[in-house]
């Protein structure tokens, strides 16, 4: 009897406590979770909607039109068979879907390209290079940034002449590197349509030279912007823009400290790192970059710009993410990665949300030189 009374008291008392506990559990779980603090330099965010032009190269529709014509015209190459677009085609996200580019003497486009001189690095996308150098504050100097896998150029203007000078990419052995720009300028000066276009872009009686060529191509490249991905929309306040899995992936991306290198609006610190990426067996000489280091690539538009890493040895986005699980990392920042194999699918889903397919994919019907549009890519 005594036990029975105790039992009832205990039961009623702790039943009440249990109900309280259930209520607390629901209240507790109703609280909005507190975001983990991320140092400002490791944060990610939306790209700006506005592009900053360099002081010495303000953009104009005429300059962009000229740059576009030059970009598609193989007249810039020694054998007149390779254009900028040969390795940076809009149907391939302004990159190409092969590990290493095939330059001078090649035929075909991207994965269908054969022959040609092997270029030692994967062609990166030109999309959003207008924002190269941008930091978390959104500021950048377009005349003092970094270009190429080894950061060897400081602006789009300087970068745009690089392939014209390169024997493997465009010049061939038709003329020397020292003479390349002068000869290309002469070629353009002999084409009336180009003379008209240069005058429209830079003023009447313009002398066509390397400076003008580079500025026009840079102005066009600066117009190739894809800054409205679903992640950008999310970061600007539209929380419905990302799916549950993508948000989970974003949190995992931050949690795993991928942002130690892939930070800012471009998801890169623009610094050089040594990740121990396997060598590409196609290369006779190992490409060591800068003491084994290569620039952190942007993670934007990845689904359109594989294969991945500086030598294109990683074929799929999933393998590229998984790469961080199995390599011996030589880099301090990368070594601190808190990477869990189960995160891969979520992170890949998030990375795909960085894709913005709304960019200029138009192909000109002809180029002023009358040469095949885009070079020998048919």
């Amino acid at each position: 009897m005594y036990i029975h009374i105790i039992k009832n008291e205990w039961t009623s008392k702790y039943l009440l406590q249990y109900i309280k506990m259930c209520c607390l559990l629901i209240i507790f779980s109703s609280c909005t979770p507190e975001a983990e603090y991320i140092p400002i330099d490791d944060r990610i965010g939306a790209l700006p909607k506005i592009i900053i032009d360099p002081i010495n190269n303000p953009t104009s529709p005429e300059k962009i039109a000229l740059g576009r014509a030059l970009f598609w015209d193989p007249i810039l190459s020694g054998n007149k068979d390779v254009a900028c677009v040969t390795c940076h085609h809009p149907s391939k996200g302004y990159a190409e879907h092969i590990d290493l580019s095939l330059g001078v003497g090649g035929r075909g486009l991207s994965e269908n390209r054969e022959g040609g001189t092997l270029v030692k690095r994967n062609a990166p996308t030109i999309l959003n290079t207008a924002f190269n150098g941008i930091g978390v504050t959104g500021t950048y100097d377009p005349l003092n940034t970094v270009m190429f896998w080894d950061n060897r150029s400081i602006s789009l203007e300087e970068q745009s002449l690089g392939p014209i000078l390169s024997m493997e990419e465009m010049r061939g052995d038709v003329y020397t590197e020292e003479n390349a720009v002068a000869i290309v300028s002469e070629r353009l000066s002999d084409i009336p349509v180009y003379v008209t276009m240069f005058n429209a872009a830079f003023g009447t009686n313009t002398i066509i030279n390397g400076d003008k060529i580079s500025k026009a191509i840079a102005a066009f490249e600066r117009s190739l912007v894809a800054n409205n991905s679903r992640f950008d929309q999310y970061a600007r306040g539209n929380t419905a823009a990302l799916t549950q899995e993508e948000v989970r992936g974003m949190n995992a991306f931050v949690e795993a400290k991928c942002t130690a290198c892939h930070s800012g609006p471009m998801f890169t610190d623009f610094e050089l790192h040594d990740l121990g990426v396997p060598d590409n067996s196609k290369l006779a000489i190992v490409d060591d970059g800068i003491n084994g280091k290569f620039r952190t690539p942007s993670l934007r538009n990845l689904p359109q710009t594989g294969p991945y890493f500086h030598n294109g040895t990683i074929k799929t986005l999933r393998d590229a993410v998984g790469f961080y699980n199995r390599i011996e990392i030589n880099d301090d920042a990368a070594r601190e990665l808190n990477f869990d194999g189960d995160m891969i699918d979520s992170i890949v889903a998030f990375l795909q949300a960085l894709n913005d397919d709304d960019f200029d994919k138009t192909i000109p019907e002809s180029v002023p030189s009358g040469l095949p549009v885009g070079g020998n890519i048919q």
């Binding site: 036990i3 559990l25 779980s29 975001a35 603090y37 965010g45 306040g237 989970r248 949690e255 189960d342």
Partner: protein
């Protein structure tokens, strides 16, 4: 302020759980139809494993049909995550279950229990971006299934361990203790 309230709630919750555990062993009952318990689970697979480490929850069961070795149950549970960084998860489950006494060990039954039911899931995320924190909430309905092996460690206390599947989002290894009355 909200943060303080949440911390207080969490501490209170854990305190009450321990209190409950420490006292329920005193009670005695021969014809138990109700069962109240607590459980915790550790995610071993699925999307939830990416975001959360573990779950902590409460559950209730009612025996609506009883045979000599088999009990048929109505079940309900509420659980929330522990250790989610920048994320929180609430899972509310209602369903049915069956518990079958396999063998008797030291005069107490070892049982197997199977639960199935509907599930409500709500996830909240909060992420620090460059300009601000952005929060998202996702809710969905799904199914939950669980299988446990248990042992009646005292006359009114069941212990169980098993696997709990939260829709197609997560698989958790779960342990729980229940008080029968």
């Amino acid at each position: 302020m909200m943060k303080l309230e949440c911390v207080w709630s969490k501490q209170s919750l854990i305190g009450i759980l321990f209190l409950l555990l420490s006292v329920i062993g005193y009670s005695q009952n021969e014809t138990s139809k109700f069962q109240l318990g607590i459980h915790s689970g550790y995610f071993v697979a699925g999307d939830f494993k990416t975001t959360y480490d573990a779950m902590l929850g409460v559950d209730a069961e009612y025996v609506f049909y009883k045979k000599p070795k088999m009990n048929y149950l109505l079940i309900g549970s509420v659980a929330t995550d522990i250790g989610g960084k920048g994320a929180s998860l609430l899972a509310i489950n209602m369903g049915i279950g069956a518990r079958y006494d396999l063998i008797s060990l030291w005069k107490k039954p070892v049982f197997i229990q199977l639960n199935v039911g509907g599930l409500y899931l709500r996830e909240q995320f909060s992420t620090q971006l460059i300009k601000e924190n952005i929060a998202s909430t996702f809710s969905e309905f799904g199914v939950q299934g669980a299988v446990y092996v248990g042992y009646k460690i005292l006359r009114d206390i069941n212990f169980r361990i098993g696997v709990n599947q939260y829709n197609n989002k997560g698989t958790a290894i779960e342990v729980g203790v229940s008080y029968l009355f």
